[in-house]
């Protein structure tokens, strides 16, 4: 038997090994993708209920006497007026025979706590409604919402069900008379946080994230680009520059929570900047994303071929002119891509913000960078912590909003890279 035969004999085994190896490689990719799919589907299915809102349509009589306002009330009078009674009367009319205190409370909890404010805002917007009888779609309580959406199983025995038979009966009566409807939950995108799941919205967190990112961008982008230009184009070879480079590389890998400790000790305790403000969050996040953007910008600048520089220098441009007129424009797409990726990283970051007081209950929509606010990931963390079950869907929905922004940012980065990428 000669060598060729030996090789030939082992071939089958070797090819098998080859196939196995290749399959293992494919499998590992498939499993990573599969995991991503599972994660997204899991979040998606959990989030779906949060995008629609159950409403109860009730006929209310806006009797000024019941509300407790006189003729031509001012806005302040209306603010303080008792609109709850109107709604309660309407419910009591529809379900007479409810007399016990405890039962009454159950009955009144069919509509959301926000219903009275909903009605109030309607009247403030149009005071002519006073004295009229109108049909209003009120937000339903989260329990009603859960029953309608099937999150609470009606067929369970009463003892195991959170919504008891009596209340379920009322809900079914309302359902039969067509007073219950579902519609897209705009409220979720137009209001701030709330302790009632049905009233909780994401707008405050989105604006908080926006302000935080603005601060981060305004601070980190110019500094990072300047640093990258200096290190790539101007820095002399000496120990100090080496030290800077080591620092940048290390900062890129420092755990984000350590930046939180820095923010707590330096910006809040030492400089006494306000807690829970996008300003501090933005500063901390910009320090955190700085290395990412610097490294990306440096590699973009490095990728610009030396011939471009030499040509510019040869024509008599100064070093500074060469860099700003020729190198930087050519490197810009890469720099922008790196910046967007850095911003996306900052948008999803939670841990450092835990340390600087952004874990807070904030209802008002922030109006500036020193107003207290939360950000999207913190809102996710906060809602995941709330006792009301309605928040489970809200948490997942908030995650979807967060992912939407991240994907949009990454898509822009990819688009920029594709469109302006130049192979030298």
């Amino acid at each position: 038997m000669n060598n060729t035969d030996l090789v030939r004999k082992s071939l089958k085994k070797r090819y098998l090994k080859e196939r196995i190896f290749k399959t293992v490689g494919l499998l590992s990719i498939v499993s990573a993708i599969l995991f991503l799919l599972i994660l997204l589907t899991d979040i998606f299915t959990k989030a779906m209920p949060a995008f629609s809102q159950t409403n109860i349509s009730l006929e209310v009589t806006l009797d000024p006497d019941v509300i407790g306002v006189g003729e031509n009330p001012s806005e302040q009078d209306l603010m303080a007026a008792d609109f709850r009674r109107v709604i309660r009367n309407s419910l009591a009319d529809q379900f007479p025979g409810v007399t016990k205190r405890k039962e009454k409370r159950e009955l009144y909890s069919l509509t959301s706590m926000g219903a009275e404010f909903q009605l109030r805002d309607m009247v403030i917007a149009d005071p002519a409604l006073l004295g009229q009888t109108i049909q209003v779609e009120f937000m339903a309580d989260d329990d009603v919402d859960a029953v309608i959406k099937g999150a609470i199983d009606r067929n369970l025995p009463e003892s195991d069900r959170r919504v008891k038979d009596q209340k379920l009966g009322w809900i079914e009566t309302l359902e039969e008379s067509g007073q219950i409807s579902e519609q897209f939950n705009w409220w979720f995108f137009t209001s701030g946080d709330s302790r009632e799941p049905e009233m909780a919205g994401i707008k405050g967190a989105i604006k908080g994230s926006l302000f935080t990112l603005l601060v981060t961008l305004a601070l980190s982008f110019p500094v990072a680009v300047a640093a990258a230009i200096y290190l790539e184009e101007f820095a002399p070879k000496n120990r100090f520059i080496d030290f800077i480079e080591i620092n940048i590389n290390n900062l890129a890998a420092v755990p984000s929570i350590v930046f939180g400790l820095l923010g707590l000790a330096v910006f809040i305790n030492f400089f006494s900047l306000p807690r829970s403000a996008p300003l501090v969050g933005g500063i901390v996040l910009s320090l955190m994303t700085l290395p990412t953007i610097i490294i990306a910008s440096r590699s973009a600048i490095k990728a610009v071929p030396p011939s471009l520089r030499e040509a510019a220098l040869g024509l008599g441009a100064s070093k500074m002119q060469t860099v700003f007129h020729h190198v930087l424009p050519a490197a810009l797409p890469g720099i922008l891509t790196g910046t967007i990726i850095g911003m996306a990283q900052a948008l999803g970051e939670t841990a450092p913000l835990l340390m600087i007081g952004m874990v807070a209950f904030i209802v008002d929509i922030p109006q500036g960078i020193t107003d207290p606010s939360t950000v999207l990931p913190i809102q996710v963390y906060l809602w995941a912590d709330s006792p009301e079950r309605g928040f489970l869907a809200k948490t997942s929905a908030a995650i979807m909003v967060l992912l939407f922004f991240l994907i949009a940012m990454n898509a822009i980065a990819i688009y920029l890279r594709k469109k302006f990428e130049k192979k030298w």
Partner: protein
């Protein structure tokens, strides 16, 4: 090159705009100096209640909604007692009473007037999955099942906790493994559970009770130490997660606040302790042995200076919030009795200083 040049142009323009706007924003921010919202910090247990009041307050008045941070009782005290001044919080929530050392800290830092507001009680429940076994516990059972060391037949002798099954602790209990998910030591819930349930059971052993007068620290070590061999699982402060985990694990028991039981009554059920089931009425009447008071503390010097403080305090202590039928009870707060409520109300109205 053409698209790049265009991009650069566009980019430089936007960059200029952004820097300008950012500069202007930053500059205009420096000017705004006052704080027109109330700042609240403190316990994560009081957080669910105080946020509800804050939200209603913000929606029904022209004042801004107070900002409420969940920093933990101790962290809240630290921020609260740092100084008077607009960059310190006005109110701190606490799931235990302020300590003498903390009050002293406050006074040392110039925070002289501190008003204490007792808002109600929170029951601590031991619960398991709804279709699982019924537990009819006593505080003694809890102590024997969870203590690090338990007494033997002989007086004065302790051994490392040998029990692994509930029926070894008490023959009447179901034969399931002892596995209790509970809060970590950093939590006020844990603090209260140890003090009320564990110590309550511990006292059943006469010789241990006697050590209280002779050797207090030994007494505490015996009664307050929780076993660390895995039967007690520190499950984080996220009570929601505890409930999720109980569902997945029918044999385990979980320790958390009554408000969470109330919200999840269809998923978990509370165990009877010393003959009383964890219900609204039994906790309010004191029949249920494991409940703790919840407080918040107000900086007196801030009341007249921060817009809306008086109104917020009035809202919090109003009948419709804290009263027997108030909306806080919907969230699981156990209301104060009539006498205590009236006292709290006058304290707040007159802003009586807290003396310990």
């Amino acid at each position: 090159m053409a698209p790049i040049v265009k991009l650069t142009d566009l980019f430089m323009k936007t960059l200029k705009k952004i820097t300008l706007i950012a500069g202007l924003i930053a500059a205009s921010q420096i000017q705004a100096a006052g704080r027109d919202y109330i700042s609240v910090v403190g316990s994560s247990t009081v957080y669910p209640f105080s946020t509800v009041v804050a939200e209603r307050f913000g929606k029904s008045t022209s004042f801004k909604t107070p900002k409420i941070e969940s920093t933990g009782t101790g962290g809240g005290m630290k921020l609260f007692c740092k100084a008077n001044g607009i960059d310190t919080p006005d109110i701190t929530n606490a799931s235990r009473r302020i300590k003498e050392s903390e009050l002293k800290m406050c006074h040392d830092n110039g925070v002289d007037g501190v008003v204490e507001v007792l808002i109600g009680f929170d029951g601590i429940v031991v619960a398991n999955e709804i279709s699982s076994h019924e537990f009819n516990l006593t505080t003694k059972d809890l102590f024997l099942a969870l203590a690090k060391e338990v007494p033997t037949e002989k007086d004065g002798e302790l051994v490392a906790n040998p029990y692994t099954m509930w029926n070894e602790v008490n023959a009447e209990l179901p034969a399931v493994k002892i596995e209790v998910l509970g809060p970590p030591p950093t939590s006020g819930t844990r603090d209260a559970f140890v003090e009320l349930a564990m110590e309550g059971g511990c006292k059943n052993f006469p010789w241990i009770k006697d050590t209280k007068s002779t050797d207090k620290s030994k007494y505490k070590t015996i009664c307050h130490s929780i076993r660390e061999d895995g039967a007690y699982v520190e499950a984080g402060e996220n009570d929601n997660l505890i409930i999720q985990k109980l569902q997945k694990n029918p044999d385990a028991l979980g320790i958390f606040g009554f408000s969470f039981l109330d919200q999840n009554a269809d998923l978990v059920k509370g165990s009877v302790i010393n003959g009383a089931a964890p219900e609204f009425e039994t906790i309010a009447s004191g029949d249920y042995p494991v409940s703790r008071p919840l407080y918040f503390y107000v900086k007196k010097s801030h009341v007249s200076e921060i817009p809306g403080m008086q109104e917020f305090l009035a809202e919090f202590t109003s009948e419709k919030a804290m009263g027997d039928e108030g909306y806080l009870t919907d969230k699981g707060l156990i209301p104060l009795g009539e006498d205590k409520y009236m006292k709290v109300k006058t304290d707040v109205l007159e802003l009586n200083n807290l003396e310990l």
